[in-house]
């Protein structure tokens, strides 16, 4: 394992598998226990440095670190010196001086975790940077798929929605490819980046053509304000062409599952009855997120790699 987890490409197949296996072992070790705490990272300090509001990601990392007995500092941009204009570098050096062993960073600027990694000695974990990547989300998605379907090799995953602005899509394309899954991106051409052809994924504009062949449908969040910038004409038209409703779910194979990184917009990108169906892994993904993040923190912070 590298010292930092900045993007899915930091993990080769062996590393990615090690993270998933470790998460599974942690899950198993903690299953049914009253004391859901391990002493592994006692005396280590993990800082959650969040420049964007993201309660669910922050508490997931916080719980992961606490279950491993690390000390956790939450440092959010609001109400701190950051909002008074302190630079990312100065903030990083301050946290370093306070003895942080790992910084979990969420930032609106793509590449901010890469910059941070140049300035600190500890590990940096990317908890979502701009429109770049969100590698632990991809790990928990892969973990969820493997858990539900029993494998990743050859699994056909349709990633549907605003790929252009999605860090979840970028991380998933890279990681799922590394782990042997076959990804198809489904979106209107306006919501696919120029250059998507170089990604290890198929591209389709037609959701109905892709669904019957998919083992996994991963729905991405689509922000309604995109239609103001003419990425698509209206929420209704988007929903009609790319929304996952009960009719479309009927086209899926019996074992196919439906995923969403949350928070979801019921109605537009995913119908309520689909989000709540047995195919949906949405709640499961949240729980798996804690185990996967425990595995990442353990593997990055546990000590020098052997």
């Amino acid at each position: 394992m590298k010292r930092h987890l900045l993007e899915a490409a930091d993990l080769d197949r062996a590393d990615a598998t090690l993270v998933l296996d470790t998460a599974a072992q942690i899950d198993q070790a903690l299953a049914g226990r009253e004391v859901k705490k391990l002493p592994t990272l006692r005396g280590r300090t993990v800082v959650n440095l969040f420049y964007e509001d993201s309660t669910r990601t922050r508490i997931s990392f916080e719980l992961a670190a606490k279950r491993l007995s690390a000390d956790v500092l939450n440092f959010s941009a609001k109400g701190s010196s950051v909002s008074k204009g302190e630079s990312l570098k100065d903030t990083a050096l301050t946290l370093e001086a306070m003895g942080s062993d790992a910084i979990v960073v969420r930032h609106s600027a793509s590449g901010a975790p890469h910059r941070l990694a140049n300035w600190v000695r500890g590990s940096v974990v990317n908890a979502g940077d701009g429109t770049h990547e969100h590698p632990t989300q991809a790990l928990l998605d892969a973990y969820t798929i493997r858990h539900r379907l029993g494998r990743l090799e050859g699994v056909r995953v349709a990633v549907v929605g605003d790929v252009l602005h999605s860090r979840v899509a970028r991380s998933n394309v890279r990681l799922l490819h590394t782990l042997g899954a076959e990804v198809t991106l489904v979106a209107p051409p306006t919501l696919l980046p120029v250059g998507v052809g170089s990604w290890p994924a198929e591209v389709s504009y037609d959701l109905d053509a892709v669904l019957p062949k998919a083992d996994v449908v991963m729905m991405l969040r689509v922000q309604a304000e995109r239609m103001n910038a003419s990425y698509f004409p209206s929420a209704r038209e988007y929903s009609r062409r790319y929304g996952l409703d009960a009719r479309r779910v009927g086209a899926l194979g019996d074992d196919a599952i439906v995923m969403h990184p949350g928070p979801m917009i019921r109605g537009m990108e995913i119908a309520a009855e689909v989000a709540d169906s047995v195919r949906s892994t949405i709640v499961e993904q949240v729980g798996n997120g804690v185990s996967v993040r425990m595995a990442v923190l353990y593997l990055l912070l546990g000590g020098a790699p052997q």
């Binding site: 198993q28 705490k37 592994t40 052997q306």
Partner: protein, 201 residues
């Protein structure tokens, strides 16, 4: 002080226990377990629940197959089945900083858990005692056994903690500079115990 020249390293490491020795030692330990737990040795507490009360919990890597072998031999000799499990101590170690991360192994306990039962931890080599301490910490988070005992194939001395084994296959006096390697058919393809020069682990 003049230093002795290093002895030539041409000799292959000597096996202090052969495959046959390992089998014999495990059998003897099984008998001791039966005697203490079910045999009415007069010890009182240990025999409280008999063999049904006993859980053999191996410490991976090699403690796990060892526990399974012991359980099989106890069952063969006594006629009653014995519960067996494993407890991975990786996340409880206090030397992560020194030795780095390693892959986790399984933790498996009997369906009805370990509360109120006699847990015998099983490991291949007892050395500093730190692995056993980590296993005790792990057990504490997993339940509340009536008592915990320790069985090891080899006790090589050099304890760093106040821990002793209740069942010892073989006491093997060693120097710190030596290393003891237990190899088992399940993990290494062959049963034997070797002593080699040079610390490793």
């Amino acid at each position: 002080m003049a230093r002795q020249p290093e002895p030539a390293r041409s000799d292959p490491p000597s096996a202090v226990l052969s495959a046959a020795d390992v089998t014999r030692v495990v059998d003897r330990m099984a008998h001791q377990l039966i005697e203490k737990c079910a045999g009415g040795g007069g010890a009182g507490d240990e025999a409280a629940g008999g063999l049904a009360d006993l859980v053999l919990v191996g410490i991976p890597t090699r403690g796990a197959p060892l526990a399974r072998r012991l359980a099989a031999r106890v069952a063969a000799f006594s006629g009653s089945p014995v519960d067996v499990g494993t407890v991975d101590i990786t996340l409880y170690r206090d030397d992560l900083r020194l030795r780095g991360v390693r892959a986790l192994e399984e933790t498996v306990l009997p369906e009805d858990g370990i509360d109120g039962r006699l847990v015998v931890l099983v490991d291949d080599v007892l050395y500093s005692g730190r692995s056993v301490r980590a296993a005790l910490d792990a057990l504490r988070d997993l339940g509340r056994p009536r008592a915990v005992q320790l069985a090891v194939l080899v006790d090589r001395g050099h304890r760093e903690l106040p821990i002793r084994a209740d069942y010892v296959g073989k006491n093997l006096p060693t120097a710190r500079s030596q290393s003891v390697r237990v190899r088992l058919a399940e993990t290494d393809g062959v049963d034997e115990v070797l002593v080699t020069e040079g610390e490793d682990r």
